[in-house]
């Protein structure tokens, strides 16, 4: 009984939005754009609540001197500093400081965010190579051998040396034909799964909004 209203809202809004995918027409399209626009705005507002929750969780860890509380303090300081400086610069210059060449916001973005994301992506490369090396230990079967063969061909098959022209062609064929067929099969499967979960929510069978 308690979830009648939320269920009605979820199913009603969902069906209206879904129908607009199959019927042309400006009115229906506008209806869908309004509903999705509200969702985007609400999502944006939710980020503010989420950031507040993040800071509170870290603050509680600092307060309770949980393990690694110093790092929580660093996260709180960095986040608050970035938000305050960014908002301050924006209010002062009237335009978004995000891309202003000399703004502190931009310096922090390229010095911290760009460098850190690139460094973490490099770490991902090391760990992927390590995992591929260990694969024959954790899963010694024919599938692993096939997987590693495909990895090796992709890794070295692109090099434009003369003696490797046949390997180049094999690699390009592998990527454009069998790999794309497999990718198609996988994303078709994912689409089917997404569709059935969506139908479960829209028919009220699945109610993740229960609390």
């Amino acid at each position: 009984m308690k979830y009648i209203i939320p269920a009605a809202i979820a199913i009603g809004v969902g069906l209206v939005t879904l129908v607009t995918y199959f019927f042309e027409g400006a009115d229906i399209l506008n209806l869908r754009l309004v509903l999705t626009n509200w969702a985007v705005i609400l999502g944006g507002l939710a980020v503010l609540v989420g950031v507040l929750n993040l800071l509170l969780v870290h603050a509680r860890r600092v307060q309770s001197q949980a393990r690694g509380w110093v790092y929580s303090l660093v996260t709180i300081a960095a986040a608050l500093f970035m938000i305050l400086v960014g908002s301050g610069e924006g209010l002062r210059s009237g335009i978004s400081p995000l891309y202003e060449e000399t703004s502190v916001t931009r310096v922090l973005f390229s010095g911290v965010v760009v460098a850190s994301q690139a460094a973490l992506a490099s770490l991902v490369m090391f760990f992927l190579v390590l995992a591929a090396m260990r694969m024959m230990r954790s899963r010694p079967n024919l599938w692993s051998v096939g997987f590693l063969a495909a990895v090796l061909i992709t890794l070295i098959g692109w090099m434009p040396f003369g003696f490797m022209s046949t390997v180049n062609r094999i690699r390009d064929w592998l990527i454009s034909v069998p790999a794309s067929a497999g990718a198609r099969g996988i994303i078709l499967g994912v689409a089917l799964g997404t569709l059935t979960v969506g139908i479960r929510v829209l028919t009220g069978v699945e109610r993740p909004y229960k609390d």
């Binding site: 509903l35 944006g44 939710a46 960095a78 310096v107 569709l195």
Partner: protein, 224 residues
């Protein structure tokens, strides 16, 4: 506080150097330097994303219509605000039930976008791109088309959850033909994942070499 472009360049270079070295130290092992850099990065990234949401979403889509003076725009802009107030009520368990309305709204739209997007954005277009002619023409497309159609169908079959048939031993399982097709599908699947895995390693190498050349450039810059 405004910086000159030289100062900005220098500061972002030094920060980039420190954060790159600190984060790459995770290769050696989990250490305080890595933790400090990681948590600082998370803080700055959260701050940056919040600023982007403020400047690029809330301002144009919420503040502008609210303050536009057009009553219809104002009314349309207040609905998400009301939903937002319900969402804030979720913070305390006593009023959390009211917050379900906002969550239900988001989930309703999300589920429809997911289902509609999957259908019109992926399922139907990919099915359409798989309608390939298998007429044995002279050029090599016949073989490619055959591989693509067989690969797509068998990969789909490999994911079949429901086992209808009975194996030779009388147990429930895939019948021989289905097992063969599913086996072929799994071959395509493993090949696809291997190609993507190799591609991810190459991407990582390119990003790492760009980082190395930035570090190397900075060191040379300092030395000169």
């Amino acid at each position: 506080m405004t910086l000159t472009s030289a100062q900005a360049e220098l500061l972002s270079g030094v920060l980039g150097f420190l954060f790159t070295v600190a984060l790459l130290s995770y290769l050696i092992g989990d250490n305080p330097l890595y933790r400090l850099a990681l948590h600082a990065f998370v803080g700055v990234a959260v701050g940056y994303a919040t600023l982007v949401i403020l400047y690029q979403v809330l301002r144009p889509r919420l503040m502008t219509p609210l303050l536009s003076g057009d009553p219809r725009a104002t009314v349309l802009a207040t609905v998400p605000l009301i939903l937002f107030i319900f969402l804030i009520l979720k913070i305390s368990p006593r009023t959390a039930a009211l917050g379900n309305i906002s969550v239900a709204y988001l989930i309703g739209v999300g589920a429809a976008v997911a289902a509609g997007g999957a259908l019109t954005g992926t399922l139907l277009p990919q099915v359409r791109t798989t309608w390939l002619s298998l007429w044995p023409e002279a050029s090599g497309t016949f073989l490619n088309n055959l591989v693509i159609v067989v690969g797509t169908v068998t990969t789909l079959l490999a994911f079949q959850f429901w086992l209808q048939g009975r194996t030779a031993g009388g147990e429930v399982g895939r019948v021989a033909l289905m097992r063969l097709l599913a086996g072929i599908g799994q071959g395509f699947l493993v090949l696809t994942l291997g190609v993507i895995y190799g591609g991810m390693i190459l991407s990582g190498i390119a990003v790492f070499s760009e980082r190395l050349s930035m570090l190397f450039g900075l060191i040379i810059g300092f030395i000169r």
